[in-house]
């Protein structure tokens, strides 16, 4: 549904997006990750046709966003960052306007509005002015606007920002449900959301894609992936470390915690170990009093940091 090819954006001399390419098909939920200022919002604004790209192309449902913006925009529902809405209108008036400008008439419009109201739980504030809404309600009002015409493509810029945990949960459920039939791109800072919702995730940093894969694949980029954490009774830290070091598959070990009775350590595998580290350790440690042992899956936040941190650090150095 969405094809982005070599997308580039300059603001004056500053490059915000640097040659991004990806595609999202129907039934996919693509998570957009990256530190603040990485170019997430700029990319989304170009996809939705709000700002023109400096170079590269975007097609939505086969329509080029620059050449044929109107049919392309018709397919998209968009929730901008900070969820803007006309403050002088009521929720009902605002959604009615959104439906009307999407070309919905009469009965179809009434149905579309009531469906969106129901999906976003807005009944309670339907005739309240947008100005008086709490942040959560305002956010959902803007979200309702984006799904009012049941679009094939949804572009959501931080859809769960500013919501309480229950609302976050609801919105995630909603995105996942809709993702079965639509192509969805959404950006977030919250890594657990990627696991909960995405079928695929892209990490961008300084305008470039630095990682692209399923949440599972991304996790495996973690240096923790495949590491074994174990807690052993009746050994001290030095002894444990020394014994683990004798196992050929272990690259290095770190001690996490030591108290009077037990010590907890993590062993990192050599690349050749290939997921069999736990077995090797179990074989080599017959007779130990192992309280607990498990293989780490790797964590997204750790991957995120290791991929984007060097750049963030560099950036801090650049502006003394």
């Amino acid at each position: 549904m969405i094809r982005v090819n070599n997308l580039t954006k300059f603001f004056g001399a500053k490059q915000a997006v640097d040659g991004i390419s990806f595609a999202v098909d129907r039934g996919e939920v693509l998570g957009f990750l990256g530190p603040n200022g990485a170019g997430k919002s700029t990319t989304m604004r170009m996809i939705t046709g709000f700002i023109p790209p400096t170079a590269g192309s975007i097609t939505v449902g086969g329509f080029d966003m620059v050449e044929k913006p109107i049919p392309a925009k018709r397919l998209i529902g968009y929730l901008p960052e900070n969820a803007p809405a006309y403050t002088d209108m009521t929720v009902h008036g605002f959604l009615n306007f959104a439906a009307e400008i999407r070309g919905l008439q009469g009965d179809a419009r009434r149905k579309a509005v009531s469906r969106a109201v129901e999906m976003c739980f807005l009944e309670a504030v339907l005739h309240q002015s947008v100005e008086t809404l709490s942040k959560g309600y305002r956010h959902r009002t803007c979200f309702a606007q984006s799904i009012i015409h049941d679009p094939d493509v949804l572009v959501l810029d931080e859809p769960t920002d500013g919501l309480d945990p229950n609302q976050k949960h609801e919105v995630r459920q909603l995105i996942r449900r809709m993702g079965e039939k639509k192509a969805i791109i959404f950006s977030t800072h919250i890594l657990e959301e990627v696991d909960a919702v995405c079928s695929r995730a892209i990490i961008i940093d300084r305008g470039r894609i630095v990682a692209n894969g399923t949440p599972q694949e991304l996790r495996q980029k973690s240096e923790w992936a495949g590491a074994v954490t174990l807690r052993v009774n009746g050994l001290n830290a030095a002894a444990l470390q020394q014994r683990l070091g004798q196992i050929s598959a272990v690259k290095k070990t770190t001690v996490l915690k030591e108290d009077a009775t037990s010590v907890t350590a993590r062993a990192f595998p050599k690349s050749s170990a290939n997921g069999t580290l736990a077995q090797s350790i179990a074989d080599a440690t017959q007779g130990w009093r192992i309280e607990e042992m498990h293989t780490e899956e790797g964590r997204l936040d750790e991957v995120f940091r290791s991929i984007t941190m060097p750049d963030t650090a560099k950036r801090a150095e650049e502006k003394p």
Partner: protein
């Protein structure tokens, strides 16, 4: 015809936005008070003059009333959209920027038409007291509305330039002041003392006053109509260029 449907939708929303805020009513009241005050309290008043005409006591003042009132109406058009961020919604809808610009402009222009129409008691008054040429009065109203449209289109430009309504207001007042002064008799006299007659005429031809005068007298000159309409068209075109430039970064 799809584009008219889009323009209508935008216009409807904008008009509703005007009337949902107290500002609209305050604006109309101030406008009516000014019209009434200048018609009846400033000497020689409408009653003293003994003429069944609205030109000298009513329409004469309109360029000056509009100087402050129209930029106040137009300042929010784009500045507010940019401040709140709704411009991002509006311009990602399946409409062209041009449709949005025209829709918004029409809404404000219709709002000004409502304010202008609310001065109808003064027409009844002169009809009651004498027998004016209502054709002339109609031409005056038409001219006044077109002039308001020209001011408004200028306000559209300044509103698109900034997200601050106050800045937008001040800049458009300055531009509109130029549009008045270029044809204001004392300024013309001053210019004539040193400039060539051709130059003075060229400057005066940019003034709304020059073009409004004929209409006040009931002369429907196509050149005056074209002046106002082309000024509106040109200003809206400038607005679209500015909006596109802003988005391009």
């Amino acid at each position: 015809m799809n584009s008219w449907a889009n323009i209508k939708t935008i216009t409807k929303r904008e008009l509703a936005a005007y009337f949902s805020s107290p500002l609209a009513y305050i604006f109309i009241v101030i406008f009516l008070l000014l019209c009434g005050f200048f018609a009846f309290a400033v000497q020689p008043s409408l009653l003293d003059r003994g003429q069944a005409s609205l030109a000298a006591n009513f329409f004469f003042w309109h360029p000056w009333f509009y100087l402050f009132l129209v930029p106040a109406v137009g300042m929010r058009l784009w500045a507010e959209e940019r401040r709140v961020g709704t411009i991002e919604l509006l311009l990602t809808m399946p409409i062209t920027a041009w449709q949005a610009i025209v829709g918004k402009f029409l809404a404000s222009w219709l709002f000004l038409a409502v304010a202008l129409a609310a001065t109808f008691p003064i027409v009844i008054t002169v009809n009651y007291l004498g027998s004016p040429d209502n054709g002339v009065i109609f031409a005056g109203y038409l001219g006044s509305w077109l002039m308001a449209g020209a001011y408004l289109a200028v306000s559209c430009i300044t509103s698109a330039l900034t997200r601050n309504q106050v800045v937008s207001f001040i800049i458009s007042v300055v531009i509109c002041l130029f549009l008045i002064l270029a044809g204001f008799a004392p300024v013309i006299n001053l210019l004539e003392s040193w400039a060539k007659p051709g130059l003075v005429e060229a400057i005066a031809s940019f003034s709304v006053i020059t073009h409004f005068e004929g209409l006040q007298k009931g002369v429907l000159d196509s050149r005056d109509l074209i002046f106002f309409l082309s000024m509106i068209g040109f200003s809206l075109f400038c607005t679209s260029v500015i909006l596109r430039g802003r988005r391009a970064g």
